[in-house]
Symmetry: none
Subunit: 225 residues, 2 copies
DNA sequence: CTTGGTCGTTAATAATGCTTTAACCCTGAG
DNA sequence: CTCAGGGTTAAAGCATTATTAACGACCAAG
């Protein structure tokens, strides 16, 4: 499971830095943009989960940016929150349905912001897909229960092992490169040594049987029922 | 599958129009009423899936209307959500007693409202259908009476503990992530620390036995009979 | 208006056990 | 034979969870 992405847009570099730092510390992947135009560009490329948008900006302001974001069908589900100065006429903004999901008023306290962001993203994730069962020659993977059955016997694998198995089994027979394993299971910006994957593969082999996991030298691994 | 019905009750015509418009755009069938009396009338005829109820209204206020709705056996399963001014703390408590399912605080942001409504109606199909009584290897959960029996002995759990138990037991064996626990038991915009869940789990383990609650590190908890 | 109790939350600290590393071994291609 | 890529192992490192105590909010009884 990879990090959730947040795009932070404000024309003050200080704000970008402080808030960005706080969000990164919470484990989010943060992108920043100094203006609306740049924001749109990044948004289209990165498809962030949440955009934090300053209302007052030179050139293209928050409202306009918001509207443009909403018009892009690929960004339909992106959450947008406005950062507003405290005593801007709140009702006027709120009444204007530019499509914001939340308002956060300045001056911004990092802790508060982080909580609000968490709450917003939590709501989004709550809509998680549920059913997921895979059955492959005696091996049943039940993502819902976080449990694997081998010939009817229940095994509960630790998180990383489970996710690695789930990935490989998602397309049996297909070879996953080490690189793609890393980015899917560990996330794009986690740095771990190559041996880490081996070790996890080993544990899976130990628990499920050697034969299921085939090594393709110089490339990666595949799962074979 | 036919449209889900929503009854919107508020004495301000503007609100009815704006919110009504947004909900209709999302594919719901919307009825509106300017006061409690009218609301009851429509509710009895239409049996809406959800009633959005302004707390402050002339004549019969939201609380009273809510209570009357709850008394009608035909409307037993109807969801009720209150629309409240932001810091009316008191109404919060009184309202849950009156049988509310959610609170949405004013000023109302259309998009926020729509996602809350979606979440509520989804929860309805996803979690409610589990009977109000559940019996799992010596543990009986009676949602109606807010009471739990362990091997015939009655335990009365505090609200949060009960709700947590009810959630986990609603789908035994399924892992609930911390996030989904938070959004189902605490609600989407309550900010509490992660440790809070642990503490409640601990209390449940204390009262019902360790074995029922399994920790999946890095993921969440599940209930196992 | 007090008092005593329960509940919900947090903070601090301890315990747990998953992850990763590092060092060394094995194997097959060339 | 050589060596690059992979396998194995144990132990260190780390993140997550468990536990406890303490606090504040609330409520009911006096």
């Amino acid at each position: 499971m990879s990090k959730q992405k947040i795009l932070l847009v404000d024309d003050e570099p200080d704000i970008l830095e402080i808030i960005g730092f706080n969000l990164e510390r919470e484990g989010y992947e943060v992108f920043t943009a100094p203006n609306g135009r740049k924001a749109l560009e990044i948004a289209r490329k990165q498809k962030p989960d949440l955009v934090l948008l300053d209302v007052m900006m030179p050139e293209m302001d928050g409202m306009d940016t918001c509207r443009e974001l909403r018009e892009d069908p690929n960004l339909k589900d992106t959450l947008i929150a406005f950062l507003t100065a405290r005593n801007e006429d709140y009702s006027q903004i709120a009444g204007f349905d530019a499509g914001a999901d939340d308002y956060i008023s300045k001056p911004i306290k990092p802790r508060v912001l982080v909580s609000r962001v968490k709450a917003l993203l939590r709501r989004q994730v709550a809509i998680e897909p549920v059913a997921t069962k895979t059955n492959l020659s005696g091996i049943v993977i039940n993502k819902e229960r976080y449990v694997v059955y081998k010939d009817g016997v229940e095994l509960s694998l630790p998180k990383k092992e489970f996710e690695l198995l789930a990935l490989l089994a998602s397309q049996p027979g297909r070879v996953f490169t080490r690189e793609s394993i890393l980015s899917n299971v560990w996330g794009n910006d986690v740095i771990v040594g190559d041996r880490t994957i081996d070790v996890h593969i080993r544990k899976l082999r130990e628990k499920l049987g050697d034969d299921f996991f085939k090594t393709i030298k110089g490339v990666g691994y595949k799962f074979e029922p």
